[in-house]
């Protein structure tokens, strides 16, 4: 039983995603963001999280999913990533699920290399597949059109 892992799940474009629950600092409601002109499109803006200025990334754009319909209010997943605290925008929060290592399967080769670096693989849940995100990769900002990762 010790190879069971806890995942915090959320939905993006009706797909189920999961992030290791230890990586999630908190989930907060959407609030007005401060847009950052000249920043790559994946950057939604900056958020004041109790006095801390946190970068907010649009997970849909990060994962090359269609844009969120304007009437849908996203939720903010505050994630502790390698580069500091980052907030990821998702559609809706799901449950916390516990999964066995055995149900895991890595991403298929058919996924684009860029996406494969972000989506580690899937856990085969009973009704659905849960995409497992690499939080550090999901929190990286890439300059448009370049494979290069922006270093500090």
């Amino acid at each position: 039983m010790n190879n069971a892992r806890q995942f915090c799940t959320f939905y993006l474009n009706h797909l189920l995603f999961g992030v290791e629950s230890q990586k999630i600092q908190e989930v907060v409601t959407y609030r007005e963001l401060r847009p950052v002109p000249l920043a790559p499109p994946v950057v939604s803006g900056l958020m004041n999280l109790r006095g801390q200025v946190v970068l907010v990334l649009e997970l849909r754009r990060q994962l090359e999913l269609p844009e969120r319909p304007p009437e849908m209010t996203p939720i903010c997943l505050v994630v502790r990533a390698a580069g500091g605290t980052v907030c990821l925008l998702a559609d809706e929060v799901g449950n916390v699920v516990e999964v066995e290592e055995a149900t895991f399967e890595p991403s298929p080769e058919t996924l684009s290399p860029r996406l494969r670096s972000v989506i580690l693989g899937v856990h085969k849940l009973e009704h659905q597949l849960m995409h497992v995100l690499d939080t550090d990769q999901a929190c990286e900002v890439r300059v448009a059109g370049q494979a290069e990762v922006v270093e500090a």
């Binding site: 007005e32 401060r34 847009p35 950052v36 002109p37 000249l38 920043a39 950057v43 803006g45 900056l46 958020m47 004041n48 006095g51 801390q52 200025v53 946190v54 970068l55 580069g83 500091g84 980052v86 990286e140 900002v141 300059v143 922006v150 270093e151 500090a152």
Partner: protein
């Protein structure tokens, strides 16, 4: 083991502080050899180090400190006169001690070192005036020495290594010392005392050489009788002594971890924000109790903020204190006499800033001594005192710290600078003749400029004034230089007090707020209604404003931040009237509303930033931007406003650079727009050089990091690329002629093979998007300010367009394309 680690750490911290003081004291002492108080302080410092090193089992350290102490003892007792040689010896000892401490800090041991030479030197110095000093002390010694020995033996210290008898009266005028069985020195080192020692209370502290953790006796004698003898831990005794020894050491100061201070600073930052928020609320309500409370909160917060800021403040004297030593050594090396005068050592500025200005200051001080101040003979010939003066002055003014470094040396030779600058191609002869003397002397801050004719071990090694300038500007400061030939140089720096909380101007653009640090702010200009239309003119598509007769280039914040709107739109609109829908910001220039211009200065250049609205000035707390956004150079950080919303802080320098990069795109103006432009032309600074067969080429000056002459022999080959080692990095070299020749006819790498390897190469070190590379050119000609007026489109890859500059057809290179070409030569050509 942890305990002992802590003790070692404490010992290191204390010793470093003591050593810094020692340097200072010794220099003062050299000037006033009779000052017993300073001598006493020096003696105590060394003694403390010696004692503690004995206790902690650092034998080598102890041995060095011991001879130093003995030498100082003789000086203190007046048996030796302090002269230059002795001072040098003592300073050498301080250096050795410092090295050992550094080694202890790094590895926990003193390291393999041989100090016998130093010890011999110090011992020799001690005995130098043998004849004069020998008889007297020997005669006087027994009394006090005996007392100390008696005191020690009475309490049973059998292996006592050294005793120090010191008058606890504190004037240090008298004392008796006995050194019994030195570690590596003679059995009886010195025994000397003045008769007056008998009258004062004599304290003898014994330290065991082998440092075994046994209790040590401490004997106190008053008069000649043992009055009190209590056992004490050696370390404790040392500490007690250290406390008594420091001039101002007392229980009123404590050591704090810097991290704790930083944390407090952050909290205060939060508090300031909360305060701003509450004040805004309070202003909106009628509730008087809330108003009163918020006013009180306001006052307290301001005071608290000041208090916490103060904890991070350090007097500038902390870094200055090293300069007398630096200057002395340097002056000796150069055969000069230099007196250092300091004023305002107590002027305080933020700890991080102190660190940041340390190197630039040191550089300027070295420059002054090395190049500024003349040798005594030259000075006398010029009717000056043989001793040069180096002045350091610091004071607060207008919320900034002013630091001035002045000397009364030869000053700068305007003519020579002018010629040099022209010769090096930094400015044109025509420009040079138009510059004022003050502008001329400030040319030394240009990259690639050095008038030093010979390279000394002090200056001329690539760390030029340009580096000083960049360092100071990086922390939001400014440097200015004034000089009068024959009368010396005055360098004035203005440094902000702190970086954590800064006053800023809040502006609005596209209904978003931005903060502009007040340091770069010069003035605000508001053009009312119709005046806006007349006030803003166009030069080749770039808007300018006549500010008191001078043309001020304008940048529209909203458009800079859009980053995609072409310059053509505005000029085109001018050409064709109002048919084109204006951009929101452009509406301003059409006279629909008032135009707000924020006049800013960056890197010595002024420009106007047009914003939608100017809100207020406010103290803002700088929050670092996430590392992902650091690559956007127009932002310096973020802050949280009183209403809890996030605002971005603009980086004025980055903004200026960003906009001039945009300026490169201007040559793509449609012809009619170009015609519509009136008056002069947009000027850009270009570096002119020749390629093959004397054909002229140019690159924008902004991309130039330095001009270098690199010997062909230093060029190495790495894969298919030519590289050179440059400032600790590998700099790829691209030869301009080959990068532009028809490469298709050459196999990859072939063109580069012919890079000459014998002659000196003239290299432009260019920086494009944080990537450095060297462009090897035939000859660097000049730096010109020229209108970028395309005469003909590009004829080949790597060239943006051809233009007539200085009456010659010149190709303007596309640096980004060149860089790609250069990369194409890399082995990566085999792209499968």
């Amino acid at each position: 083991m942890n305990d002992s680690d802590d003790i070692v750490k404490e010992f290191l911290v204390e010793s470093y502080e003591n050593l810094d003081r020692l340097d200072r004291d010794l220099i003062t002492l050299e000037k006033h050899p009779q000052d017993r108080e300073i001598l006493g302080s020096v003696f105590r410092t060394i003694h403390t180090i010696k004692g503690t090193s004995g206790f902690l089992d650092f034998d080598k350290l102890g041995a060095v400190a011991h001879v130093g102490e003995s030498l100082l003892g003789r000086l203190r007792d007046g048996q030796l006169e302090l002269d230059r040689e002795i001072t040098s010896g003592l300073l050498a000892m301080v250096d050795a001690v410092r090295q050992m401490l550094a080694s202890i800090e790094a590895s926990g041991v003193e390291g393999e070192r041989d100090d016998t030479k130093l010890i011999a030197r110090l011992t020799r110095l001690q005995q130098a005036p043998e004849a004069a000093g020998k008889d007297a002390p020997e005669g006087k010694a027994p009394e006090a020495g005996g007392a100390a020995v008696e005191g020690a033996s009475a309490t049973g210290a059998s292996a006592a290594e050294a005793f120090e008898g010191r008058a606890s009266g504190g004037n240090g005028a008298s004392g008796g010392e006995v050194a019994g069985g030195g570690i590596q020195t003679k059995p009886v080192k010195a025994s000397k005392a003045k008769p007056s020692a008998a009258k004062s209370a004599v304290k003898a502290i014994s330290t065991k050489a082998d440092g075994r953790d046994t209790e040590k006796p401490m004997a106190e004698t008053s008069g000649m009788t043992v009055e009190e003898a209590r056992p004490a831990d050696a370390a404790e005794a040392q500490r007690a002594q250290g406390a008594a020894g420091g001039p101002s050491a007392s229980g009123s100061t404590i050591r704090l971890d810097v991290i704790l201070l930083d944390h407090l600073m952050n909290l205060v930052g939060e508090l300031v924000l909360a305060r701003n928020q509450i004040l805004q609320c309070a202003n909106r309500t009628e509730e008087s109790t809330l108003g009163a409370a918020s006013q009180r909160l306001n006052l307290i917060t301001t005071e608290l903020q000041g208090g916490v800021m103060k904890t991070r403040m350090q007097p500038i004297g902390n870094i200055w204190s090293k300069f007398p030593r630096t200057v002395r050594d340097l002056a000796l090396d150069c055969g000069k006499q230099v007196r250092v005068e300091m004023e305002g050592q107590e002027t305080e500025l933020d700890k991080t800033l102190i660190e940041a200005i340390k190197d630039p200051l040191t550089h300027l001080v070295r420059n002054s001594v090395d190049h500024g101040i003349e040798t005594p003979e030259v000075r006398q010939a010029a009717g000056k005192s043989p001793e040069g003066r180096l002045g350091l002055r610091a004071f607060h003014e207008g919320g900034q710290v002013n630091i001035e470094i002045s000397d009364d040396g030869a000053g700068l030779d305007q003519e020579r600078i002018r010629n040099k600058a022209v010769q090096k191609g930094l400015i044109s002869a025509d420009q040079a003749s138009r510059l004022t003397d003050r502008e001329i002397v400030n040319l030394v801050f240009l990259p690639g400029f050095s008038t030093a004719e010979k390279i000394t071990n002090v200056s001329g090694r690539g760390v030029g004034m340009d580096v000083v300038k960049t360092h100071i500007e990086k922390i939001g400061g400014t440097v200015d230089l004034q000089s009068k030939r024959g009368e010396g140089v005055l360098v004035r720096m203005k440094i902000p007090l702190t970086l954590a909380i800064i006053p800023a101007l809040i502006v609005t653009s596209e209904s978003e707020r931005y903060a502009i640090p007040q340091v770069s702010l010069l003035e605000l200009v508001r053009l009312e209604q119709r005046a806006g239309h007349k006030g803003i003119e166009m030069i080749h598509g770039s808007p300018v404003y006549r500010l008191r007769g001078r043309l001020l280039p304008l940048i529209y914040l909203s458009r800079e931040l859009e980053g995609k709107v072409t310059e053509a739109s505005i000029a085109g609109r001018l050409a064709s009237g109002k048919n084109i829908a204006p951009l929101p910001a452009d509406a301003a220039s059409e006279g629909f509303q008032a135009v707000n211009i924020v006049v800013l200065e960056a890197d010595g250049r002024q420009f106007g930033l047009v914003v939608d609205e100017i809100n207020d000035t406010e103290e803002i707390v700088v929050k670092p931007l996430s590392k992902h956004l650091k690559s956007i150079s127009v932002y310096a950080g973020a802050t949280i406003m009183g209403d809890g919303k996030v605002a971005l802080i603009l980086d004025v320098l980055g903004l200026a650079q960003c906009s001039s990069i945009l300026a490169e795109g201007r040559e793509h103006l449609p012809p009619e727009a170009a015609e519509a432009a009136t008056g002069g032309r947009a000027k850009q600074k270009l570096v002119l050089f020749t390629g093959r067969a004397g054909s002229r080429m140019a690159v924008p000056l902004e991309l130039l990091a330095r001009l270098e002459n690199i010997p062909g022999a230093e060029v190495e080959r790495s894969g298919n690329q030519w590289v050179t080692q440059y400032r600790g990095q590998i700099l790829p070299l691209i030869r301009v002629t080959h990068a532009l020749e028809e490469r298709r006819q050459l196999p990859p790498g072939e063109g580069l093979m012919s890079l000459p390897t014998t002659e000196m190469l003239q290299v432009l070190v260019l920086e494009n998007e944080q990537q450095s590379f060297g462009l090897v050119v035939n000859q660097i000609l000049d730096i010109v300010e020229s209108t970028l007026e395309p005469q003909s489109p590009s004829t080949r890859a790597g060239v943006l367009h051809c233009s007539v500059i200085s009456e010659r057809v010149t190709e303007l290179l596309d640096v980004a394309a060149l860089l790609r070409t250069g990369e194409a030569y890399e082995p990566a050509v085999s792209s499968q």
